[in-house]
Amino acid sequence: MLQSKSFGYLGVALRAMIAFTVLLGVAYPFAIMGAARIFPDQATGSLVTDSEGDVRGSTLIGQSFSDAQGKPIAKYFQPRPSAAGNGYDAMSSGGSNLGPNSPVLLKQIAQRRAEVATFNTVPESRVPADAVTASGSGLDPLISSQYASIQVERVAKARGLTTAEIEAEVLKAEVDAMPWRSEEPLVNVVLLNLHLDELNAASAN
């Protein structure tokens, strides 16, 4: 080994780290950045725009559909509870981290179930698990089809549309994880609510 002439092992290690930092810390991520042009939509975050061309969010990142007081807005399908910041804060992703026997979590689940049941005028037994549990990211854009189905009547009433029209939009916002319709489809709330706003705007014109 020739190492002894050049500050020994630490010298070799330092030169190696400099070379690898340039290759793996600069060249590699920027090369992928260049290749990302093949997938411009994905690379920039799967952003969605409204009919006027304004960016209104991302199909991958859930949003809050509550008013300034934190009350759920009746005309929007409601997402899962979120532990990210004050709810769907995409700059502080994370879960509640409450344990399976946590008294705090127990209370939260009972309260959410009662609220969801009242808000949608359905019995508590019809409120599914995803409506009362926070996701790990706090940014889950999806809800179960059960949770969507108990919200259909409320949304239809608030928007002055028929339940059939709303159900058709729910079907369109289903996530295609499989080439065929799976038995428990998931619904993208961001897309669904965006489409519903467009539908209302179109019928108003």
Binding site: L24, Q63, G99, L106, S135, D140, A177
Partner: protein, 556 residues
């Protein structure tokens, strides 16, 4: 969703099976060849290293340590000086204790995170610091495993290869090409790759939301391939920009398992006996399958008062992955030393969380991290032939190498290091009055036995260089930053030095011909013994601690 899961699981096994021979043989050839490619020659010239010179184990170990220390110091400085770097995104320099913990964490392939990335790190530290360490710490683990296998394969040499050559090849020929391809696949699946700080939007309901940007795909690929696990975002692989859907989820599981499950083939290739490789693979695979089945069953069963009130164990889980997509990821991550999470482990059922801990407590051998899994299991293989030798009264040997007092001392010390760190670290957290005050007052989120589980999980994760967490625990305190940082360093480098010492002693030996008295190490009987040794060693060590945490909670 269960149909989807079954299809994905079959695809996963098929893909891993299809890669086993080609990738395993390719890695064997990569570390054996005498031919250097052009960029490697340029690098050796810049390093002033003769690629044909072989190192003794002492020299190899010094190189590993020097490389890691320099990497650690560099990463510490990059974080401290963050404000002066481009793409810092307005983030200040990281505080000293936290910067030490993070530097130790990424340089040891642990990737424990006491910080929330969105609020702490700019793109510069993520790229120049963390992405680089993801590669080099993975390459270091791979190099050490190859060096140990050389100890078995070489006869009367005393040397175990050249660390600089092994690390360079691990990066140039294995990790970097695989990472480029994987990053593109992840990009296509929806993982972001840009230099935007964040995009502010008016949401559909008229509120505001800041959507983060970043070079995520390039880091995500090596985070999984190198079994590192440090998330670009706080929510790690639960974050939709790191892991957007069920298909990227299964691809990420594949990336974590790819190299660790192919290395037994490399081992067989290098010692010239593929059956030896299949035995090791069989042990790794059986442990993995058993653990996956148990964790999945526990989470589907959904124990715990809160879980049962909700109906399904969905707290902390993403709907896109479902319960089974989460347990598959969780099992892969905790049994490969990756430590990435696509669900919040703190909210798992008591028994599901127990399985995550057991995967780590096995010593990361099912299949373990890149390289670390193979060398960990080979040490247990040595212990197994020794125990078998005691039972029948023969001198133990493994692959034609005598397992004498020196080898057994090294192997035994290796097995003792991690449990000592885990149990001492957890105990000190509660025994030292000021540490106890900090841990119970600030760090622990959940009360009762689950709170103890959070601390036990943290030290298990740190000592085994896993990096996953019961994330309710606030680790950003002087005590946990310092103690976990030290545990990660000791848990990484003491075992490495012992494994290299073992490699050196074996390499110097002659090969004893196998006779009728030699214990065959390719039989199912031997594989069963090896598995029992792995389970017994960890079960006996950790059982008392587990009874106070997850087991007590599970009885509740």
């Amino acid at each position: 969703m269960n149909t989807l899961f079954v299809i994905q699981f079959i695809l996963l096994i098929a893909a891993l099976g299809a890669c086993y021979k080609p990738l395993g043989d390719y890695m064997g050839r990569t570390f054996a060849t005498e031919r250097d490619i052009a960029p490697e020659r340029w690098l050796y010239r810049w390093l002033r290293v003769d690629p044909r010179s072989a190192q003794t184990w002492q020299s190899y170990a010094r190189s590993v340590l020097a490389f890691s220390v320099v990497g650690l110091v560099l990463l510490y400085l990059i974080q401290r000086l963050q404000a002066f770097l481009p793409f810092a995104g307005g983030h200040k320099g990281v505080e000293p204790f936290l910067a030490f913990n993070t530097a130790a964490s990424f340089a040891t392939n642990t990737n424990w995170q006491n910080y929330s990335p969105e609020q702490t790190l700019g793109h510069s530290v993520q790229m120049f610091g963390l992405t680089v360490q993801n590669f080099v710490s993975g390459a270091t683990g791979l190099a050490v495993a190859i060096a140990l296998v050389r100890g078995f394969a070489y006869v009367k040499r005393g040397t175990i290869g050249n660390f600089w050559v092994d690390a360079t090849r691990a990066i140039f020929r294995i990790l970097l090409p695989l990472a480029v391809v994987s990053a593109l696949v992840l990009l296509a699946g929806g993982v972001i790759q840009n230099l935007v700080g964040h995009t502010d939007v008016t949401t559909i309901a008229g509120g505001t939301q800041s959507i983060p940007g970043g070079p995520v795909a390039s880091q995500e690929a090596i985070k999984l391939l190198g079994t590192n696990g440090g998330g670009f975002f706080n929510a790690n692989s639960a974050h939709p920009f790191e892991n957007p859907n069920a298909w990227t989820n299964i691809f990420e599981v594949f990336l974590m398992l790819l190299i660790p499950f192919s290395l037994p083939r490399t081992f067989g290739w290098m010692v010239g006996n593929h059956k030896q490789g299949y035995t090791i693979l069989g042990v790794m695979g059986t442990l993995f399958a058993g653990s996956l089945a148990l964790m999945s069953w526990f989470e589907m069963r959904g124990a715990g008062a809160a879980t049962q009130l909700a109906g399904t164990a969905l707290e902390g889980k993403e709907l896109a992955f479902g319960v089974l997509g989460s347990t598959l990821f969780g099992t892969a991550s905790t049994s490969t030393s990756t430590g990435a999470v696509n669900m919040m482990h703190d909210s798992m059922t008591p028994q599901g969380g127990l399985m995550a801990m057991i995967n780590m407590m096995l010593g990361e051998i099912s299949p373990g991290g890149v390289g670390t899994g193979l060398y960990g299991l080979l040490i247990l293989a040595v212990i197994t032939v020794f125990i078998a030798g005691l039972l029948v009264g023969r001198t133990p040997e493994y692959l034609g190498k005598k397992i004498g007092p020196l080898q057994m001392k090294l192997a035994s010390l290796y097995v003792l290091v991690t449990p000592t760190l885990v149990l001492a670290g957890t105990a000190l957290s509660f025994a030292l009055p000021w540490a106890r005050e900090s841990v119970t007052g600030t760090s622990i989120l959940n009360t009762g036995p689950h709170g103890l589980s959070e601390v036990l999980y943290a030290f298990t994760s740190a000592a085994n260089n896993n990096g996953s967490a019961f994330a309710g625990l606030t680790g950003n305190t002087p005590w946990l930053n310092a103690s976990l940082g030290v545990v990660m360093i000791l848990g990484r480098f003491i075992p490495i030095v012992l494994a290299l010492a073992l490699a050196g002693s074996l390499s110097a030996q002659t090969r004893v011909p196998s006779t009728s008295g030699t214990l065959p190490t390719t039989s199912p009987l031997y594989a069963g013994m090896l598995m029992s040794v792995a389970i017994l060693v960890s079960a006996l060590t950790y059982f008392p601690a587990l009874t106070l945490g997850p087991l007590a909670e599970g009885m509740h």
